[in-house]
Amino acid sequence: MSLLRVEGVSKSYGNERVLRDVTFGMDRGDVEVVVGPSGSGKSTLLRCVNRLTEVDAGEVYLDDACVTAPDTDVDALRRQVGMVFQGFNLFAHLTARKNVTLGLRRVLGMDAAAAREKADAHLERVGLGAQADSYPAELSGGQQQRVGIARALAMDPKLMLFDEPTSALDPELIGEVLGVMRDLVAEGMTMLVVTHEMGFARSAADTLSFLEDGRIVERGPPERLFERPEHERTAAFLGRLTDLHGGSADRSVEADGRPDAGGESGPASDRAGGTSGADGAGGP
């Protein structure tokens, strides 16, 4: 039984058709990476999954519950789906810890002590145990994004959505965020990720989708899309993106302090169940 099913989803803004009849499914533990040119509908697709954006047509199912039905309790749905934003969107007036406890207290109804304990555990998990009392503006972009991940994870979601989580970061801060995401992959979290990080896509994704003009042009295991793409557009786009964002295939490895000799990165063993040694650098 699939955890997430997106069936024939379409969305337009005015005359612009952002999504056209998009269909795909994810099983529990799957990591799906969506790539595509800007304006291709990637973010909209993600936002349709937790209904931050309403679909015009089609359905989304989470665990066979219809997300898009008008009578769905969206708040109950969103409790089960974590989201990480490109711009972090941390609550600016709250410390890192309180960013995490807000949902635990006000959505899950936990008492203050239990919420605090859980928040601290999740901040520890993303390597920010020492920054629990810092305000967002006092943290680096990479730290802010890791708080954003902790905030979403603390709700114990079934599915995590990542909307270009590293696109707003300075290059030297990308690794720490990808490192946390890799840990999640290793723990078996189900993740739907929009990113331009080709190293992450190649080594961590089970499935890669190439989205263009609101359509899934091609979808399959990343190795196949990188090495034997069926569509010329896929080849051209992935090649260009790899030049830009995949030079060192796995920046999280650098962040861990292991040398990364021009892209021949460390073992892919951090992926539970492993997706073979497709970690290599460079495009096709």
Partner: protein
């Protein structure tokens, strides 16, 4: 007016471009202060200090009226601002319209209406109602702007963890909007404090009304009394502004530079 206007015929006879004769200047000088003595005098200061208790009683009423008006303005203005942002077409439109009317009416007219146009018998309550509703109309704009200045991503993030729209606004948007509205609120506070003097128009015995009572009695002391009242207004506005500055710093959202 002592000088009769020239007959119309004289206008038509004058050279083209020349103006009709004006009344002589001394006619307009007749409105010089009674007694004509403006310079500050020790005796007049003595009069002021003899009556300082009376004036400070008026100042106490000024402070009380400011407090009740600001409070009413906040209690009505904050929800009004939120409704302008989040309300539907009709509730939002209604609140906007009431605000436009209140902001477009002179404060003296509002006070006269509150006192003479309603069954309210107490000048203090009428002044509170008039000043409070007028302040609410301005405070609503202050808070509307502050709410709209909070990044939309904040609301999305709050909704994404499962907070309802209302809770997201209450726990995430409002705390940030309130902090951002403190500087504007300082202005509003100062304006309301000074505008309590308009309650003079409905005879409420606040600071300016009592000042007037005194200089009608002792007409040479007008300047001294007005200076004294001004000093009291200044002390009150200065003190509340410094207090709000402290509040602003105390609750400011830390920015990166403070590290």
């Amino acid at each position: 007016m002592t000088t009769p206007a020239p007959p119309p015929a004289s206008i038509s006879l004058s050279a083209p471009g020349s103006l009709p004769a004006f009344p002589p200047l001394q006619a307009s000088l007749r409105i010089a202060p009674p007694g004509g003595a403006l310079p500050l005098q020790a005796g007049d200061w003595a009069f002021v200090f003899e009556n300082a208790g009376y004036l400070l009683g008026g100042a106490a009423l000024t402070v009380a009226l400011t407090a009740t008006s600001i409070l009413l303005g906040f209690l009505a203005g904050f929800p009004a601002g939120a409704i302008e942002v989040y309300g539907g077409r009709y509730t939002g439109g209604l609140v906007r319209t009431v605000g436009v009317v209140l902001r477009g009416t002179p404060i003296v007219v509002i006070l006269l209406f509150a006192f003479f146009g309603t069954p309210i018998g107490s000048a203090f309550l009428a002044a509170t109602l008039g000043l409070g509703l007028r302040s609410a109309a301005y405070q609503s704009q202050l808070f509307r702007g502050a709410i709209q200045s909070v990044d939309e991503g904040q609301l999305e993030a709050a909704r994404s963890i499962g907070l309802s729209r209302l809770r997201a606004v209450v726990h995430v948007i409002v705390p940030q909007a309130l902090r951002r509205s403190v500087p504007g609120f300082q202005n509003e506070f100062t304006i309301v404090l000074k505008d309590t003097s308009v309650a003079f128009a409905i005879g409420l015995a606040e600071l300016l009304t009592r000042s007037f009572d005194l200089f009608v009695q002792e007409t040479t002391a007008v300047l001294e009394i007005i200076l004294f009242a001004s000093a009291v207004y200044f002390v009150l506005t200065f003190a509340t502004n410094r207090a709000l500055d402290r509040l602003d710093r105390r609750y400011a959202i830390p920015s990166g530079e403070s590290v």
